[in-house]
């Protein structure tokens, strides 16, 4: 029988990787991911998980080892966060370019500097073009479910693309929630054994993987990846439906919340989406016509779904947990802007930056965003830093010898 467990986000990710029967684990601990690395290590040393645990010296090695391991024909596991993900940058592109379908939980944490241990999305946003699929979780149940579905999506022969399951550091990684964990047999039935569908490493039938590729073929291989992403959109929809049928929980690549007759909508990703929905309910009870749009799949970005679901809505607020420095707006805002029919010029799509470096996106913050977007008459379209303090330019002062 499936049963409820009290798990934090990291433990939920570990449960999902355990039930997917990963055979090689190469993880390097980093806050707030550390308990994933530790828990997997416990499971291996206790003999509960029959896997090889590799102690690696960095995240660069962790991903390299995972790629090599997975190419021998098993599921390999790793997980990381923040600067660890940044250190993986080079090898992330190797995994996606070599079509190695690794499923990796990424515990979102700010990139330094300023040095921070806490949540924002700049780490995974910096990897949005690295050829990985990216799903963002709202709660701990989604962490388990998305990692589980991640294997099906990434390993599909038309996709063969690695996937990051992004969960907000501390807000999800260390937040205990009630999670429904299915039976091992149900997961086995849903995911199945790992079957190699592409390149592999076999001493009796050797091949060189990741060899030097000339300009004559490079473009075509990138194009193969592009096709993989297009297929991923379709496969993801199918896997979501199959999961719903089997486990009863419905997910979509883009989820609308009370969009019917809505005049203003907040588009968000990750754990803040729960708060947004809560505020939508509060404002709806006051008679305000508001709604929410949650982006689950950021890569591939589903402009088709976003366009369809935001049709007729005149005021759209996009909140991003990353600064988008030097750009006209944050990454999610760009995607949303480009998804909406250009014909509807009376639509306002306004960009909000908030929740950086662990700052809570509170009910008050969301209310402020709704108030701002519903009462917007300015022509200024530069991003609004919704939770910045007034004294931002002089928060620290030091005495120096003069």
């Amino acid at each position: 029988m499936a049963g409820y467990m009290m798990l934090d986000g990291n433990e939920a990710a570990v449960q999902a990787m355990k039930m997917a029967k990963v055979k090689v684990i190469s993880a390097y601990p980093i806050t707030p991911q550390s308990s994933i690395a530790e828990k997997l290590s416990d499971l291996v040393s206790d003999g509960i998980l029959k896997a090889k645990y590799l102690r690696v010296e960095s995240e660069h090695s962790a991903m390299s080892a995972a790629i090599g391991a997975q190419l021998t024909g098993v599921r390999a596991a790793t997980a990381t966060s923040s600067v660890g993900l940044a250190l993986m940058h080079e090898v992330l592109n190797v995994a996606s370019g070599c079509r190695v379908p690794i499923v990796m939980p990424v515990v979102n944490r700010a990139l330094v500097s300023p040095w921070s241990l806490w949540c924002d999305h700049q780490d995974s946003m910096a990897e949005r073009d690295s050829g990985w699929l990216q799903l963002y979780c709202e709660n701990v149940q989604e962490v388990f479910d998305f990692v589980t579905m991640g294997y099906r999506i990434a390993e599909h022969e038309d996709v063969l693309t690695p996937i990051m399951v992004c969960l907000d550091g501390f807000f999800l990684s260390h937040s205990m929630q009630k999670v429904l964990i299915p039976e091992q047999s149900e997961v086995d039935e849903f995911i199945g054994d790992y079957i190699i569908k592409n390149t592999y490493l076999d001493p009796t039938d050797p091949m060189i993987i990741n060899n030097l590729t000339s300009p004559d073929e490079f473009t075509e291989m990138r194009y193969q990846q592009k096709v993989g992403f297009e297929n991923a959109a379709k496969v993801m929809d199918e896997v979501f439906l199959e999961f719903e049928e089997k486990f009863g929980r419905a997910y979509r690549a883009v989820e609308g919340y009370r969009l019917g007759d809505a005049e203003a909508v907040i588009v968000s990703m990750g754990s803040m989406s729960g708060t947004v929905k809560h505020v939508v309910n509060m404002l709806r009870s006051e008679g305000k016509k508001v709604g929410a749009l949650k982006i689950v799949s950021f890569r591939p970005f589903r402009n088709d779904l976003v366009n369809e679901m935001l049709k007729g809505i005149k005021r759209i607020a996009v909140i991003d947990r990353t600064a988008g420095l030097g750009s006209q707006g944050t990454p999610l805002w760009h995607e949303v802007c480009n998804s909406i029919d250009k014909a509807s010029s009376d639509v306002i799509v306004k960009n909000y930056v908030g929740g950086l470096g662990g700052r809570d996106i509170s009910i008050e913050t969301i209310k402020k965003v709704f108030a701002d977007i519903m009462d917007d008459h300015s022509q200024n379209r530069s991003p609004v830093w919704i939770d910045v303090k007034e004294n931002a330019m002089d928060i620290r002062q030091v005495y120096i010898n003069v």
């Binding site: 370019g97 050797p206 060189i208 993987i209 073929e217």
Partner: protein, 104 residues
Amino acid sequence: MLRMQMQQEKHMKKQKKYRVLGPMASVFESMKTGSWRLERPKVEFSQCSKCGTCERYCPANVITIHKEKEECVQFIWDYCKGCGICANVCPKDCISMVDERGEE
């Protein structure tokens, strides 16, 4: 550059066994570094004093001197990259570099 590219493409085009996405190769020709060669050393054997200078200086260790043979300087063509050091150090100046594709 062009030669190196052609060489990389050659064995990729040979693969038949799998429909594969992404970069891989199942024929390992590129391990023979001689295929990188753009120019090859050509010895004027009648001028050669068989001193062995080229043999000692060759960074790939692919030259053998056969004092008794008429073609007294032997190269292992699978691994000669055509760097030209032998031609440069030859005290008799009897090694010249010729285009790999130009002759024969």
